[in-house]
């Protein structure tokens, strides 16, 4: 933040600090570049807000270390927003790679869902400085619901594509063949409690209890 204010060169992953606009260009088509811009704007704003609080406290005479501690909630929010924009930017660059059109479409759907869901869950961050309007947030929330239906037919195939062997999942519910119920029963039958029909605790505790209650 200090370097950006002084107009000094920025690290490549932070170059966005120098160029963010004050209003979103987001439309119902949810163009990927405008989604990246939204996250970069949010990160830049939160980084600058954290810096401003930190520097403001020092300007009031607080020691640097105390000012850091007193700004740390904002600082964590800023870091989180920075990482979030990095994840979105990386995802968008993967979608933009030259690849099979059907695959690109599915990846774009997922990327949009990830980005829109993040905006809807952190809507305050996008509304606070007027970067987005309440109407645009509503548009984003509608977009999330539309994308759920779009992704639905490919959901199973999208998890198949991770290509996790059944042994890694070690899950009856997540078996590739879907034979859930038979295998839940098999799993239960392995339980040591099923080694004998009558468990020894019956003779040790339950039977004596029943005997004593008759007296």
């Amino acid at each position: 933040a200090e370097a950006a204010v002084k107009g000094q060169p920025l690290a490549p992953t932070l170059s966005y600090l120098a160029n963010t606009s004050s209003r979103t260009s987001l439309t119902p088509q949810f163009n990927l570049d405008s989604l990246v811009a939204a996250y970069q704007h949010r990160a830049a704003r939160l980084i600058k807000a954290a810096a401003s609080r930190f520097q403001g406290l020092m300007a009031k005479g607080m020691a640097r270390e105390d000012a850091w501690n007193a700004s740390s909630v904002d600082l964590v929010r800023a870091s989180d927003a920075h990482c979030h924009q990095f994840v979105i930017s990386t995802f968008v660059s993967v979608v933009n790679e030259k690849q099979n059109k059907d695959l690109q479409k599915v990846l774009k759907d997922l990327c949009q869902l990830y980005a829109l869901y993040g905006i809807s869950k952190n809507s305050g961050d996008f509304l606070e400085d007027g970067y987005m309007t309440g109407e645009q947030i509503r548009m984003v929330e509608d977009g999330v619901l539309v994308l759920l239906a779009v992704i639905r037919p490919n959901a199973v195939t999208l998890v198949d594509a991770f290509d996790f062997n059944d042994r890694i999942l070690d899950s009856v519910l997540g078996r590739y063949d879907g034979q859930v119920y038979d295998n839940l029963l098999k799993f239960a039958q392995e339980s040591p409690l099923n080694d004998t029909d009558v468990h020894p605790s019956y003779y040790k505790y339950l039977k004596p209890l029943a005997m004593s209650s008759k007296l």
Binding site: A11, L14, C83, L110, Y114, P153, V156, I168, D170, L173
Partner: protein, 438 residues
């Protein structure tokens, strides 16, 4: 299952293309599948489910498997680290390995921070598993803040030895994986003191157990820290050092050295170089967390296609639960998140490998940016995975609570990433330090 088959038949894209993209190409996918299949079909790796084992049985199985895997990898001539990773992850899925810290932390640290002479002295024995090591940094009362560690290494010019000591109970090394029962060496992080002056944290190779009978070395107290949330197969350990003497040559001396007379020589101005292992591990954790979430999504989404429940319209047959919008709202954003985090994890890993070569050449220009991003992404991804995995579990109704679901094993393997190798909030603040500078 016909419902699952129907889903696969009606997809609009070829999943293999996406698998190839994740793996980095069709050849890599084929190779990964080949290697993983070797482990998945190996009868020597079959054992009863760990949730039916007691703690000792679980640890015993882990040691047996770890030793078998070492031998098997040699037989198969698998030496590439990525290929070893594929094999190990399927051989002992989400079951902590008895060799994990040896191969994942001890050897990389010794390799990266040794002089050529030290390298020749230790690495051959490490590679033959005569030496099995771990990385002992965290103490009972001190974690991420390294300068707060209490363990001391005081140099004695008379005997040309370092005297390592745990001055308090809170200074006991606590948590290092495989320290309790398995390993016989450790890289111990301690404050170097020469003639009363503190020179900061340095790494020392300490022999913890006898090489013949595996008994604890004099002056050292070792043990297992007891049951945890998960990781039953891992003997996370504690260690008390009571004025343990190690030769001068046992301080890892690539970046700083102590001469016989006690003269301290810093070979680099950048003290952060000694934290290189941590940066590497954090970059890897970002991808591991993403895979954990992706695995939980796989379980929850397949089950949501198989499970039928209730009705949408009165009188209709029970629909697949994935047709309920609320179920989609729980799971599909997490599916999208899995892909987002996977790609980000790959990106930071590739960046690490690119920058690491520069660092080894002494060019540390990009190190602060890498440190910021690896710290932040480790925290961001592991937090997202942690909360997402719980949503996956709860989207599977009561069965999600059963060990049969697979969730507990994955969750307890992945969720410690929020606190190990740097507690997440602290890491976000480390990231923030660089952001403020920029």
């Amino acid at each position: 299952n016909p419902d699952l088959q129907k889903e696969r038949d009606t997809a609009t894209f070829d999943p293999l293309l996406l698998t190839n993209r994740i793996d980095g190409g069709p050849e890599k996918t084929r190779r990964r599948q080949y290697i993983q299949n070797l482990a998945a079909t190996d009868p020597n790796l079959v054992h009863k489910h760990i949730s039916f084992m007691d703690r000792s049985e679980e640890y015993d199985t882990a040691v047996k498997n770890a030793c078998y895997i070492v031998k098997r990898l040699k037989e198969l001539n698998i030496t590439d680290p990525t290929e070893e990773y594929w094999y190990r992850h399927i051989a002992t899925p989400h079951e902590a390995s008895a060799m994990a810290l040896h191969t994942g932390m001890f050897m990389p640290t010794v390799r990266a921070q040794s002089t050529p002479e030290q390298y020749k002295h230790w690495i051959p024995d490490c590679e033959s598993y005569k030496i099995i090591g771990t990385y002992a940094q965290t103490e009972m009362g001190h974690g991420t803040f390294l300068r707060g560690l209490e363990t001391t290494a005081t140099y004695s010019p008379m005997t040309e030895e370092f005297i390592l000591n745990s001055p308090t109970v809170s200074s006991l090394k606590w948590w290092p994986g495989n320290l309790g029962k398995t390993t016989n060496h450790a890289v111990v992080m301690a404050h170097l003191t020469i003639a009363g002056k503190n020179y900061g944290m340095h790494g020392f190779v300490v022999q913890t157990r006898d090489m013949d009978d595996h008994t604890t070395m004099p002056g050292i107290t070792l043990g297992d820290i007891g049951p945890k949330f998960g990781y039953g197969s891992n003997d996370n350990g504690f260690m008390k050092l009571d004025h343990v003497r190690v030769p001068r040559e046992n301080m890892l001396a690539k970046f700083a050295e102590v001469k016989k007379d006690g003269t301290y020589i810093a070979k680099t101005k950048n003290t952060k170089l000694t934290y290189g292992t941590m940066v590497f591990i954090r970059a890897m954790i970002a991808g591991d967390a993403a895979r954990g979430l992706a695995q939980c999504c796989t379980i929850a989404i397949r089950y949501s296609a198989v499970r039928r429940q209730s009705e949408i319209k009165p009188g209709d047959p029970e629909p697949q639960i994935m047709d309920f919008q609320t179920q989609q709202y729980k799971l599909f954003p997490l599916l999208a998140t899995s892909y987002a985090l996977l790609f980000a994890g790959s990106s930071i890993r590739d960046t690490y490998f690119r920058i690491e070569k520069d660092i080894q050449r002494g060019d540390t220009k990009e190190l602060p940016e890498l440190h910021c991003l690896s710290s932040g992404l480790k925290a961001f991804n592991s937090w997202a995975a942690n909360s997402g995995m719980e949503v996956c579990r709860m989207s599977c109704g009561g069965h999600g609570y059963s060990q049969a679901s697979g969730f507990p094993k994955i969750y307890t393997d992945v969720t410690p990433a929020c606190t190990y190798e740097g507690e997440n909030t602290v890491l976000m603040l480390q990231c923030a330090r660089f952001l403020m500078k920029m």
